[in-house]
């Protein structure tokens, strides 16, 4: 009995334990890993995908998936930079005003994308994986047309770039943004009507509908929140590299989905925690950082990410079964 309890504890915290082991191993291999500077770097670099992962957690809990986030990252940067470039020249408007218009335009576009995803999935009964894959292609193409195939560099105002490169004391601004987004999502999922609806829709859509929950609205909320957070990620990304291009954000969905699943969210919907996703993000950040420190080749990094995605989903399938056995 006591042994089972111990085993359960182990299974409940297996990701934390694994993370701890990886951290110790990296520390042993590269003492520079365990410095404040490096940890701040980890948070700074992972914050971009992290904010998107918070949205993705909602989408996956609602029983759907969003593969379009990378393209939303690209188009949000491109749209904002493009407006910052064109508007002042065409109208003589100040850069700050143009940038604000650019931000609003990108945000409205994100909401439109989210509404489209939710609507197409629910009303036409299309798998969200196809709907969002289509948008992904569409948006990358659209972003390419807007920037004419070339990166738009150095068009954003200096204050905008702070969200990517600024620091508050020693803490990078992106890390602060991640924490704020995390707290807001945590609040939404745990303390609001809409959060409860998201769990219900993902847990059993028909039962949720018969209980009077508006399934379409719930799904639209998740997709729109994710697109908005991907837009925020795109802003931070553009601000960090002082540029915007249609090729930004490519492949981010893999890392984002990995971190959500590592955090214990079930791909079948209805089960998951935003808190877990934060852990998943840190896990991902440590692995990426470790690979860089250890000079792992780009190709090897791809392989490791692939294995990570596969094994995290595999774990999420077998862990609940193992736990049930111990009950």
């Amino acid at each position: 009995m006591a042994r089972n309890k111990w085993k359960r504890m182990l299974l409940d915290h297996i990701i934390e334990l694994l993370l701890l082991l990886i951290i110790i191993a990296l520390w042993a291999a590269k003492p520079s890993f365990m410095t404040l500077q490096n940890w701040l770097n980890i948070f700074k670099s992972v914050a971009l995908k992290g904010v998107i992962a918070c949205g993705m957690t909602m989408v996956i809990i609602s029983g759907q998936i969003d593969l379009s986030i990378g393209s939303v990252v690209a188009i949000s940067g491109v749209v904002t930079s493009y407006i910052c470039d064109i508007l002042p020249r065409a109208t003589g408007m100040g850069l700050t005003a143009a940038c604000i218009i650019g931000i609003i335009a990108a945000a409205l576009l994100a909401i439109a994308i989210g509404v489209f995803h939710g609507f197409a999935q629910q009303k036409f009964g299309m798998p969200s994986f196809i709907v969002t894959l289509s948008t992904q292609l569409f948006l990358y193409g659209l972003a390419g047309i807007i920037c004419n195939g070339f990166p738009i560099t150095n068009k954003l105002p200096g204050w905008f770039n702070l969200i990517g490169t600024g620091r508050l004391g020693v803490v990078p601004v992106p890390a602060i943004i991640l924490i704020i987004v995390f707290l807001i999502c945590l609040f939404f999922m745990n303390y609001t009507h809409i959060g409860r609806s998201i769990y219900a829709v993902g847990g059993n859509q028909e039962a949720a509908r018969l209980s009077g929950i508006n399934v379409t609205r719930t799904k639209i909320f998740c997709f729109a929140a994710t697109a908005l957070l991907a837009t925020l990620g795109g802003f931070m990304n553009s601000a960090q590299v002082l540029s915007a291009s249609f090729s930004f954000g490519k492949g981010w969905e893999t890392d984002v989905i990995s971190s959500v699943v590592i955090g214990g969210t079930s791909m079948t919907g209805g089960i998951g925690k935003i808190r877990g996703t934060l852990l998943g993000i840190v896990f991902l950040g440590v692995i990426i950082n470790g690979m860089t420190l250890l000079d792992v080749s780009v190709y090897m990094q791809y392989i490791i990410r692939g294995v990570l995605l596969f094994s995290s989903v595999l774990l999420s399938i077998f862990l609940p079964k193992l736990k049930q056995k111990l009950l």
Binding site: T192, G203, E206
Partner: protein
Amino acid sequence: MQLIAKNIVKDYPGCRALDDVSIALHSGRVYGLIGKNGSGKSTLVKLFAGVIRPTAGELYMDDQKLLFRDPNDAHEKGIVTVYQEMSLVPGLSVAENIFLNRMPKKNGRINWRAAYKEAKDLLKTMGVEIDPREPVSTLSMWQRQIVEITKAMSFHPKVLLLDEPTSALAQNEVRNLLEFVKSLKDRDIVIIYITHKLQELHIVADEVAVLRDGHFIGKASMDEIDHKGIVNMMFGEVSIRSRPKDIAVRAETVLRVNHLSRPPHYNDVSFALRKGEVLGIAGMLGAGRTELLRGIFGADPFSAGSIELNGHVLTRTNPAKMIAQGIGLTPEDRKNEGLIAIHSIKDNLCYASMRQTVIGGILEDKPKRSRLAEKQVKELQILIPGMDAPCSSLSGGNQQKVVVGNWLNTQPEIMFYDEPSRGIDVNAKQQIFEIMWAQARKGISTLFVSSELEELLEVCHRILIMKEGAVVGQVNPDVCTINELYSCCMSGVIPHSITFAESGAEDIGKE
């Protein structure tokens, strides 16, 4: 050839599904196997088909003892089952379906010419004209069922089990299929025909075998027994408990359904429900009862007619709107529609009442949710390991109580119960009825759909009879026996002596 079951016992945890069943079936005859819900007929069929094994007792084919490892083993030993959910692949041709996984081959490639020829010959020996090249999706339902049976016959079975083969068929198709089944009698096989439609037995069967509460009641030749005789064998002597006398129906009408239609499920249905009334809906499977409830509740759209509720006339509904109007529905399929089984008991008790536990449209009122959940656990006496345990950890009866509690938390004025006693034990069943009565005393009206006729007689003030999508009349449960009720459901004819007639009756069907 003979198929013999000797002293078969099958135990499930907590219940004995078959108790000392012995039966001998001869080849060249069609046996109708019947019994009401829970009589054990599907358990017996599963035993024959090798899906489950008996707890005690033996099966024989002539003197050879039968022991099945699994359904495939039973299939190889000559016992072939045609299930009511068809197992054909719609996109493939008739020939491919018949020879699925065993297409004739030549030099390692599929020999299409041989496949079509063999299929055509096979269909011809069955006496039907179906083109083997035709995709199954273009065939009518009864033709598909014949392809299914032809496929089964191509294995040269010794025993053919037909599990409700007409359940998916339209009325005019049934006759064609029954004639076809009759034509199979010339072969040296035992045909077991499982159905709940007595009128089919008179056409197709030579003998009828009746099960009741896990016991084999007896066999009778169809020439020597009439409907009434069979019904008596099915139900035996049933003592119907009566509902408490203190539940009074008030004069006020709370719900009026006017000419509601959703072809082909239900057509031109009109009735009125009074305050505090428990109104039952009886009918055979497929009569449109569940669809009607779902239509009124707004779970599925109806195509014509209207619903009168609280002075509003509604021509379009949806669940959210009906919940706001004070209606609740415990769905037929508890696991897939009534509960979110992976979520906690507390959550499941609060989903339908979510609108009432919200502060300022956004925030959740957590203390109120806890209060609501605890209230139902206490009042409905739900046995739980803890509020946060998943619903999947509960027994069927307690799960059903959670579903009911979820709805009672919305403080409904009208409750719809669709097969609330399905898959729950006798005690829990009685408790569910007590809940219904307790609510009725408070003036809550109830619509109650059940396939268990004795339940309807026990619980209801009045019972509507549905047949083929229409309400054909209403019965007074106080003067009606279970056999009479069963006959009403089957024939759609309600004798004057048991017709419900009181001041409420004139409301029915009026605009």
